[in-house]
Symmetry: D2
Subunit: 338 residues, 4 copies
């Protein structure tokens, strides 16, 4: 931690800061500049609440030197993680496709979709049983019944299955059925849910919050990891900006940023990122090329009849075409898609 003093800070103020630091069992290194004095703090900073030092007279600002996340930090775990989920592996060397409907609407549409995405080459079936919806009057999901359909689809196709949990209650139910639990963008800082997902030990797909910084996202992952669960995959799904031509703004640079800061795998959700079917194929290719470890894509037997997210869902044919288009890119970068 570094403390930057105001240009007019008195000698006395500097000494007082030094005293406080030393009283907390830390060391203070002073650099007196021509304009300002800087105080470097050495030692275990958790002994000191940096924020409040800002309030001491003569202090201009505080600069943090180290990140607050540890377990998911590449600095302390330099080797990239490969996470095993069901029959699949997610991480470097692999390119994992997850596909399925936004919401599980009924038994038949789910099974039909499962067979279609399996045939096209997906490894995971996605499907929402609990739906977080902006309006209370929109379709809210089939809940446990939906999870049972998912389980049936797994048995029928061999696909791994992933569902979102939106509360402690739905998490408790979901872990009985799924291979991987998704924590959605709106719950990225639902800390109770993160801790429970950590305790449950189930593999977690952690979506980035709508306006979360990468640091906040990694701290959210740290909540899960700190409860003893290292099976975390991150998912970039677009952030909120002023641009409205797409539903969100895909922050594709988040992939190399995560690579440099964390050992966790990261995949991309082109469906929510763009909200427009026509943009999903080019964005999927870009995701593979930038180094993402996989994709989660919305597919529906009849997008025009979908109860939610129709405009961003692919038909079976379109998903099939997408898979064909992605294969040569996966080969080029030596990624296993099976």
């Amino acid at each position: 931690m570094i403390i930057i003093m105001k240009p007019n800070a008195s000698e006395e103020a500097v000494l007082k800061i030094k005293q406080i630091i030393e009283d907390n069992g830390l060391q203070a290194h002073l650099s007196k500049g021509t304009q300002v004095t800087i105080v470097g703090v050495v030692g275990d900073k958790s002994k000191l609440l940096s924020a409040n030092i800002e309030l001491i007279e003569g202090v201009d600002k505080i600069v943090s030197v180290t990140e607050s996340y540890k377990l998911v930090n590449k600095k302390f775990h330099p080797d990239d993680s490969v996470i095993s989920v069901g029959t699949a592996k997610i991480g470097p060397g692999h390119f994992t496709m997850m596909a399925g409907p936004c919401a599980i609407e009924n038994h038949d549409m789910l099974l039909e979709t499962a067979f279609a995405v399996k045939k096209a080459g997906a490894q995971f079936l996605r499907g929402g049983a609990y739906k977080p919806r902006t309006s209370p009057y929109a379709f809210q999901g089939l809940e446990e019944e939906g999870l049972k359909f998912m389980q049936e689809a797994r048995e029928a196709t061999g696909l791994n299955i992933i569902c979102e949990a939106t509360s402690l209650r739905s998490l408790e139910t979901a872990v009985k059925y799924v291979d991987m639990v998704q924590i959605g963008a709106r719950n990225m800082q639902n800390f109770e849910l993160l801790k429970e997902a950590g305790k449950a030990g189930v593999p977690v797909l952690l979506k980035r919050g709508l306006c979360a910084t990468i640091d906040e996202w990694l701290n959210a992952a740290e909540y899960i990891a700190s409860e003893g669960n290292p099976n975390i995959v991150l998912c970039e799904r677009g952030i909120r900006t002023y641009e409205t031509a797409t539903r969100n703004t895909l922050d594709i640079s988040a992939v190399p940023v995560i690579r440099s800061k964390s050992h966790l795998p990261v995949i991309i959700d082109p469906s929510h990122a763009t909200g427009v079917r026509a943009y999903i194929e080019p964005i999927s290719k870009a995701s593979l090329a930038v180094g993402a470890d996989g994709l989660i894509v919305e597919v529906h037997p009849c997008p025009a009849c979908a109860l939610s997210d129709g405009p961003q869902s692919l038909t079976f044919e379109q998903f099939d075409h997408l898979m064909d288009e992605l294969r040569p890119y996966a080969e080029l970068s030596r990624r296993n898609t099976k």
Copy 2:
């Protein structure tokens, strides 16, 4: 709902749309322009899922005409609401001050703060028993013990008390103690929590999400209202933008916007909005002048020793000064501060 066709949409495509609309028991009004054809849809739009019409051939885009929130919508409830909470009233004609520490750290600091803010003229004691923190390694709150201290503070001072609930579990506990429950920015779209708060019937302070639009915020309020709980007060606390000179960017215009769209009262949190103690007084005056119905402000016996949010907390003296400064503005706009 309005459907805008593409410039090159065929006559056939337009007729197909018309058919779909009529098959759903609605009426279609066509306007054929020189460049594009527009289809107005008349009737109960919940019969139709507007999103998917975007997928029909020839359709360019869909424009919603009416908001999805009803109970909190001023169009259907033109009179502004005044919400009664404990001994206080929140809404037009009143200016309600809520003050207290970010986190309840122990018994004595809370009681000391309660007496100080009561003496200065506050009507509510705020204090966090459950703290949502970015890092899992930061102080997480005293939980139920904290709520008991709050209750004791109410009995000792006559202040009304407000605490945040961060999960179904903490909500269940909090309602036994508090006059008003706060749902924080990070949980604004925790729909399970909103519904439970609706069912509980307790007055709710609903903070705006960090990157929520005003429409999403009102839809979140609708979740509470739709469960039969009309006792909702909104709280603007700054949104996330690119500017880093303040912790968040206070969207002060949200106050007149809410006034024009909803009958619910709205207050401002200058502490989280700015994150800087020196800005709280000018922003508080502006909040009163713009027509907000109150403020929620962080006050601490010793900000430099606070376990969280020290830099944005006022000392007792500063809060006292703030109250003195605000009184003439309240009088000018004929607002009752008691």
Copy 3:
């Protein structure tokens, strides 16, 4: 300047950095922490290009300690400036009203408006002769003819006049006519224009760019000041965010932030900030209460006939009412409105 080394930086790398710093005639102070080493750089940092040090092996990041603007920086000029423009003063102790049409449409509408805003109590007539418009097919302004009408309005009413310059050419023309030149949001980083405005010596109203940080804004002011022109007034006019309920998002906290960082006066433009007539009065009161030094407001004899910005323009009656509403707030904060 502070250099933060990577956790795994070698002793050698640290010594190399030290050498580079000393080779540039500066001093290096080392703080070796348990995790990282920090290097404080003392001396005239312009001798060193901080950015590139980031590229040296073992360096994690660079932290700037001092701002790059000097002349407009409060640290070096602690007394707030009061700027004289024509017969008016702008700065602490004053509250300056500027009003008039977005665009000067013709002679009569301008003169009519001038008399109306003068009577209501404004000190400045604003009016656009050169209009920056998003589409090339929108009305682009009367140019020099408009400036002549402005001059006539000044002579007829005694109002001071302000017009925007959008290029070196229009600046050259405008300075012959106006009391104050406005540099608009879109040109806040048109550095050639800033330098010319600096050389011209004319008082400048410098609007904040649509997505400019406060630091960039003060650096833009520094461009003007560095050419020898200290007569600069800042104008906050809303920034671009994801929220669309208002045209822009007024960053009202920018007023106290500017107060703490610069000695320059700052006014607010509620018309562009909100884009909605109904919000202008509450936002104007908030602007006065937060401590802004004045307002620039759009007024039009017939907003529904305006060639631009009609929806955000006040009628004469509305402006009159606004002035009446603002006076008690100005008195309360002891600000001179004449």
Copy 4:
């Protein structure tokens, strides 16, 4: 254009709107819904200033149906454009590499860079002779002398050359030397400069403004096109968001969005988008895969000695490696890189 009436709008108000529309030589189509009435306006909307209709009693809001840009609009020019610049072609079927230093610092570094990027396979040499810099105290460029060095580099290597013009003055000079003029992000809405670039007829690389919407960007291109210059290439270079892990946030989805809305080619600037050397290679691959028509990349003989943008500049070796990595991706998508 569509006019949406308020739920409580009177029959009279609707008739008045109808009258105004017809008085302007247009047709009005009414759709009376259960909640609101909608008025479709048919005819040449330039006869009516939509904005002001918002002010008429009973009107809730106005919805635009058609874009204001025409010449650069794909709806009216469905075939994608391929732009010829010097010896190069930019557009579908090609992948054009532009590379060189941020600023031209001196004769030798420019020539050295030119030979290096030519050898690696670039088609354009980029180099800044006029530098827009946030601080007035930073290096501002060699101006015309720099352009002469660029010309010499072209003669020596056969590369096409591109330089930024930051003012009418620099544009006038630059067109004498360069194959293509760049209009930078800060000048995207410097409308005088756009018009002059349109008149000059020189091929223009138009960078997206830091917070410009795609619609504003296409309208800026329309300014150039409307002066008779169709030789426009767009360049996405990242937008400003709340995320600070990268210098800007690359909006990679802008590429497919532009493809669907305009016939103009679009390239990507990964150097400014990320600001970090390590992210340039993955982002370049993603740019190619998403369908961008080329890249503009910063390369410097000694990034650690660069006068600007050192941290985001590639060394010659890194650029060489980048080109090698991109070639198989270009082949895969059948793009010509020569």
